[in-house]
Symmetry: C2
């Protein structure tokens, strides 16, 4: 097996929504309430919703820039690579990077659609959520058959509406929803209550995965305003550890043993340590805490119900025997700053070439295909899905770094470390 | 090499301070302002300081109980094993557990002495901090020569006072201070300012380690009031990861390249992943973040200046080639609930017996002895320091679990999971 033989399915990328997002699928009577794309002063593009400018138009969508020009918030479509928001350009960018399949989280509605929790008009918001999903299913994922794993946002403020929407998108072929890693931190009932059970039932019945992206409910704290932003970037993926423990010790999987959760962008190298610690905690403390895994250990539950996900993780790839290799998946994180586009195949191959071809195939695509019920081979033919085959279709794609794309650069131009405080100023 | 040949030095234990703490070393003029031990109603013992009852008299000091009777806050001396607060009993409990040396963090002043930050009378507080250190140095660590690594608290609100106290305790042989992992979260200047430089200089000049205990500045959040307390316990050690990144990207070690920091109770199995991520972040982002490691990588700095520490960590012991084995140390965590006293030798041996005797000796005692300038062999003779030799002196020590010791048990007696909310009620 060679690098060119890899078949890559990414279970965590991002779409920056185009201006015409709500043109086609929102009923006319809600057209006035829809978020609108406004080109603002200073060449900024922003969504405006219920009279408020939404931050994070294109959060961190810096792919294709020279690294000196990475920033935190490109502020206009002109500032970002077209593949971030234009479907055909995205497919080109996937091809040139040798990536077959992609699961794209939302941007302006936030990773788990929690923007709409603050809506004043909840009736309109429910229609807007459905229209968002219809756009994603039909105009984004559906417009390039076999290339995307569609994902849906939920009207999280209303469990009955969640059930209705989950059932609706299930019929349209969606096999995963995005859900906050810690809903209680968004003011929602916690995962330890019965509140969400009707949603888990629909998901379980339809083999739909709960995709929880880092930063979707709770985020890693900035430790001081002078802290270099690098320190925050380092700990972002592992910040899902606390939420992971919360889900692991929740009653959900005892009630819905077939339900699966994906820890999107969580990384994997820390997980064997975490599972050893979880098993120790259970064995050492359950006599007084009354935790109960039905005769199993926390690590057993994790192995059967938790899907792990990494961008690059040599240490994790060195320790696959401590993980369930049937649940490890890969991600590209396009167009965010941690992506190594357009060199994903080279970097990933270097990390996993020591593994058996069977393990490599599981990690790069077979696990993602099984867990997310995604079947590109029947549409495209397996032989057309390899790194080599996809790159052959993308010889016209210009991947050279583009200088001077613009946006909000938090650097003060003084060569001093960019700090959490510098970044906070961008959003204030 | 056999288990009985191990020599165990623990760099993280805890002392529950006895009632006579301030009797001997506090100048008479401050006697009225000293914290006083009051035996309260309902058989509770509490420190009272400046008119306020201090919570956490013996936080989590449940060693020696049956696990069904673990709780969160034993509330009186009668509720805890005598070794928690009585020196001779502590030495007996170390012997029966085969532990040669111990570094004991404070309890009622909090792990980094941050209780005194809130003092109204700062002049008295400075004298109280010194008296605490004198008690610790002379009455606790000094009363059993060769058996303890003394540690000092600092008058953190005043950098000049910190410098003075650090110099003073250095002359008394102290080679480590306890310091909050995230001082900014205690309202103090962050580690990225120059504020602490005079303290770092004294520590560096005197080969004194900065010991940062988990939970000393920032703590892992409770994710919801219904969250099982186990979830919180699982993630406590790894909660120091964010602070670790903050120290790693700070300017401190460029200015004081000989300064060492210990991540007390942080565990080790997650660290290789963390370092790979830190190196990636540096290489991938420093063009815009301006981080600077002087031609080295973050992992190089970690290897030279960060002391790691674990209770039990099979995964970490499986991956010592990804760590600097000259900086790995071990801890017992007596008398807290995660300790495996009195079976530490058995459990540790099972985790590291596959390593070479040279590596085992480094991890179990040689690293701790070098980094903390601790030399028990010259006092006691190496042959008297092994697990076998120490246990031979402790045949009279009763280690059988003691039932009915009492205290605040957060369990509702209904067999349902003990939650974060149940524990919070104990402290409200």
């Amino acid at each position: 097996m060679q690098m060119n033989d890899l078949i890559l399915v990414s279970v965590d990328d991002h779409v920056v929504e185009p201006p015409n997002l709500f043109d086609k699928h929102l009923p006319a009577k809600y057209r006035d309430q829809a978020p609108k794309m406004n080109s603002m002063k200073d060449g900024q593009d922003s969504w405006v919703y219920e009279g408020t400018v939404v931050p994070n138009f294109g959060l961190n969508a810096v792919v294709g820039r020279p690294r000196e020009e990475y920033g935190f918030e490109p502020a206009a479509y002109d500032h970002i690579r077209k593949g971030a928001f234009d479907l055909q350009s995205r497919v080109d960018d996937m091809n040139v990077n040798g990536v077959l399949g992609s699961l794209c989280f939302p941007t302006f509605p936030q990773f788990a659609g929690t923007l709409f929790l603050g809506a004043k008009d909840k009736t309109a918001a429910k229609a807007i959520v459905s229209a968002y999903n219809d756009w994603h299913i039909h105009e984004w994922a559906g417009a390039a058959p076999g290339r995307f794993i569609p994902i849906a946002i939920m009207p999280l403020w209303d469990i009955d509406a969640c059930v209705e929407e989950a059932k609706r998108v299930a019929k349209l072929g969606v096999r995963t929803i995005t859900f906050p890693d810690v809903p209680a931190h968004k003011g929602l009932p916690s995962i330890h209550t019965d509140y969400w059970d009707p949603l888990w039932k629909v998901l379980s019945d339809n083999k739909m995965v709960v995709s929880t992206h880092i930063g979707s409910g709770i985020n890693v704290p900035h430790l001081s305003k002078e802290s270099p932003i690098d320190a925050w970037i380092v700990t972002m993926p592992m910040s899902i550890a606390a939420a992971t423990a919360d889900w692991l010790f929740s009653p959900i999987f005892r009630k819905f043993p077939d339900l699966k959760i994906a820890l999107s962008e969580g990384g994997i190298g820390w997980i064997p340590y975490f599972l050893e610690r979880a098993d120790f905690t259970f064995s050492h403390h359950n006599a007084w805490t009354n935790s109960n895994f039905g005769g199993k250990l926390p690590s057993d539950l994790f192995a059967s119900n938790f899907i792990t996900c990494f961008i690059d993780d040599k240490f994790g790839m060195h320790n696959t025997e401590f993980l369930n290799t049937d649940k490890i998946t890969w991600e590209c994180d396009y167009p965010h700053s941690d992506t190594v586009w357009p060199n994903c195949p080279e970097i990933l191959w270097d990390s996993l070439k020591h593994l058996s071809p069977e393990k490599i195939d599981k990690i790069t695509h077979l696990n993602a295909m099984r867990e997310f019920s995604y079947d590109p081979f029947s549409i495209l033919g397996r032989e057309n899905c390899t790194v080599e085959a996809l790159r052959a279709k993308a010889t016209h794609v210009d991947t050279s770094p583009r200088v001077g794309m613009g946006g909000n650069n938090p650097s003060k131009g003084d060569g001093l470390p960019v700090t959490s405080g510098d970044v906070a100023k961008l959003f204030s």
